[in-house]
Amino acid sequence: MSEFFLELFSEEIPAKLQVNARKNIYDNLKKFFDENEVKIKGQIKVFSTPNRLVVYIEKIAKSINKKSEEIRGPSIKAPEQAIEGFMRSNNVKKNQIYKKTTDKGDFYFYKNPSKKINTIELIRENIPNILNKISWNKSMKWGNHDLYWGRPLKSILTVFDGKKIDYDFYHLKSSNNTYIDKDFEEKTKKFNNFKSYNSYFKSIGIIIDQDKRKSFIKNELLKLSNKKNLKINFNEKLLDEITNIVEKPKILLCEFDKRFLEVPKEIIIITMQNHQKYFPTFDKKEKITNNFFVVADVKDKEGFVKDGNERVVEARLSDAEFFWKRNRSNNLVKQVSKLKDISYFQGLGSYFDKVQRIRKLSAFISDELLISKEKMEIASSVCKVDLMSDLVGEFPELQGVMGGYFAESQGFDNEISLAISEHYLPIGMEGRTPKKLYSIALSLSDKIDSLVGFFGINLKPTSSKDPYALRRMAISLIRLIIENNINIKIRDLISYSCVTYKEQSFEFDVKLLNNELSEFIFERLKNYMKEKEIRYDIIESSTSITTIDEILKIFKKSSVLSKNIKKDYGLNTIAIYKRCLNIVNSEINEKDEINSSPDPGLFKNDFEKNLYKKINDIRKYFSSAGREENYLESLKTLSGAKLYVDNFFDNVVVNDDDPIIKKNRLELLKMLCKSFENYFNFSKIEA
């Protein structure tokens, strides 16, 4: 077996592009070697640092045997020229081709001999093409060259069994050399195998293998933080990103002035993680500390790196502190009227208009949820004021959260502050859903108002575009309802929202809007259920008969049915329903109108009477269950009819000679189906 080793040296390639390129080059090579039946023992390994993309195959077959192949030529009736052409293209003489009969006719054939091909030749010929096929999410050109790459590609090292493979790739020539300094492309060094390459870079502190680099960083961070009694909430995304922007990681423990801890912790965390790629630390009580870790890419010999990073954080935090002090004392209520100057959206008024609508809508919801209307109105009125603060200008992702802090520091009620803080949540399928009623009501009002507004001015999402993130908003709406067990009639909210728009002279086609928006929310509900792994047929049936006022009910029933469909009560319920429905459908006479009201006086035997009694029990069950209905219990109750249905079918002939008796029996079965439909239309469910 042989060794194959490739290094592509470039200027710094961004983290995401690196991850993508690693996967891409792995897939391309794997496919290529598989197609050519080149045997590989073990794995194709792909490593990267910001500047080096490396492929290493420890054991690859030195050569392959191309089996002998029969190649079909032209038909024996073809003109001489075609036959000569065939011989020429395969480089054979007349005596090497032969005739053979196939089911498509008689043809000339040539059998090429089995052939040994050296892998090194195969690679030399094909590698430029393989490299060319790497698809970068974003690529660029540089200088006068035509090559597109993630960032400028500077050299290519390709070695097979200790020997370099020569080839051209655009303006570059492969060799067995690489640049050893990533910034100063002057000194080069020859490498004839991966081992010496890897150990050379290890000797100067560079970890080529990203997995090893990642665990090195993580272990060092753990070691250092344990020593200092600090906690790090490992954010995998951040750790992965950092792994891909350093080659010789060094962890530095830094600190900032404790006075900045008075700044809201969200600001400190965002500053550290998103802007500076640092790890914030927490104490045993999960409180943020003034210590943080920096993963540097250089040994901090003089202490400059630590100092510098501390200065940057303090500068950023002092900016934030300046704004925090200025903004938090700025009276929220007094600022509300300034929202008039900020446009919410053309055709939907200013933020002041929006807040007035949300206030009415959330007051309406407060009646439904039995919470204080007064508090609700206060929370709504000030919930958008933070958009005018410097801090939200600096940290747009903290909208709402900052408003909550301002409210808290100005002595607003806790529930009000929390509602302001959480009113953008949840964000689509991601993250947490507010649990407090005031937060839920405010979030619901905000979302309904936006959805109604954008549908009202006909800016609906298309299949490919959703620039105002309305899908995400609808999903958030659905999650608020389902995850909090809220019974609320969405159609009423939509109608009332339209009224609030109308009061401000924004006129929409209310009927059309209601239909379109309901359908849109329904589609999102289906998606949500799909995410929750509810079966497709159940989703389809559950949404086919009811309205979006029933979101909670639809979801609960469907998820109970989906979870229990293979249990005996699930199977039985479906079987009973389908059996009865089939008989009704096949025996029904066009003239007759079956309205599921059998006449007990026409029953001839106990089997009919018992079934009738059972169905009435089921009906009673449903009418008493009401809002508190336990859907598992309901399913079990339905399946309890099995004995009565079996007895009925075993002993009663539906198709009685007397059409009146027959019709009465069909009425009975139809009554059963109707009662079952209190739970669900089971007709399209596959057991």
Partner: protein, 309 residues
């Protein structure tokens, strides 16, 4: 582009080490020395040292020596200082890190040379930053200018976690694919000098070695321009002026005189920025105004390119 976020510094010992070997007596480079050193350095690399463009612009990139010269096949190497105006970044001189007027040092080389990273690192050494002692990182930062119809790929350069330079390979300018590719290096001079001089407040920067501070030069200007940009600019007139400039740019473009047309376009762009900082442009209008400027740039780019062949 460099955001107008300047970073302050605290410890003294840091600055001491920033001294280059030749200047042992001096504690650090003054603001004007930093400019002089960068000019000297890039002149030595064969760049033409140009002067600032005499029209208000938001960044050094808008100087025709960058926008227009990055188009077409002719090689081009230049370096210059460009005063840059960002009306909405003004803070009346109250904020230690923000200015509505600041300086960029701009380098543009076409085609981008193979050893540009080395050239860059040596350039910061020439102003006292010894890259070997610091954590210099090239952090992904792709650039797009909707008004210029331009985009590029590159990095922001971090020194110990602080952004000190913007480094971009232009891919498109004025809606035209670049060939060959230019590389643009933009230093935010105030921020860089605050790092070198170890200052917390931009107004405390030492302009020269005789005790003149940045405050003396620009504090009043920051105060007055902030008032103009946020309070006093006559928006009715500015809206009209914008339309007039746009008309003028269009007619000059039709007459195939690209450079004067580009001047009108720059002026319109600045008027738009003031209107924006006066808060009289809605979200929807914003996109529309940007598109109008972009259209001008695109047509001017075409005319300029034709004139080059």
């Amino acid at each position: 582009m460099l955001t107008n976020y300047l970073v302050l510094l605290k410890r003294d010992q840091f600055g001491r080490d920033m001294v280059s070997k030749k200047n042992k007596k001096k504690k650090f480079h003054s603001f004007q020395d930093t400019i002089l050193n960068l000019q000297k350095y890039w002149a030595k690399q064969g760049c033409l040292i140009l002067q600032p463009y005499d029209i208000e612009v938001g960044a050094g990139t808008f100087h025709p020596a960058t926008t227009l010269r990055s188009l077409g096949e002719k090689p081009w190497k230049t370096a210059y200082v460009q005063p840059s105006r960002r009306p909405s970044d003004g803070r009346y001189g109250d904020n230690p890190n923000r200015l509505q007027h600041y300086y960029q040092f701009q380098v543009l080389i076409k085609p981008s040379p193979q050893n540009i990273k080395k050239l860059y690192l040596n350039s910061i050494a020439s102003i006292g930053i010894n890259y070997k002692d610091h954590d210099i990182r090239f952090v992904e930062d792709d650039w797009e200018s909707p008004t210029l119809g331009a985009s590029g790929l590159g990095w922001e350069v971090w020194c110990n976690g602080m952004e000190i330079t913007q480094f971009t390979y232009f891919q498109q300018m004025a809606g035209i694919e670049c060939k060959p590719i230019s590389v643009e290096i933009t230093y935010g001079l105030e921020r860089l000098c605050m790092f070198i001089q170890n200052k917390k407040n931009v107004f405390d920067l030492e302009w020269n070695n005789d005790g003149v501070l940045y405050r003396e030069v620009f504090y009043q200007a920051e105060k007055e321009y902030s008032a103009y940009n946020f309070e006093f600019a006559n928006t009715n007139n500015l809206f009209k002026i914008f339309d007039m400039l746009e008309d003028e740019a269009k007619s000059l473009t039709e007459n195939k005189i690209s450079l004067p047309a580009y001047d009108q376009c720059l002026k319109a762009s600045h008027v738009f920025n003031i209107l924006d900082s006066r808060g009289v442009i809605s979200v929807a209008q914003r996109a529309e105004y940007i598109a109008r400027i972009r259209n001008l740039t695109k047509n001017i780019g075409k005319v300029w390119l034709e004139s080059q062949s």
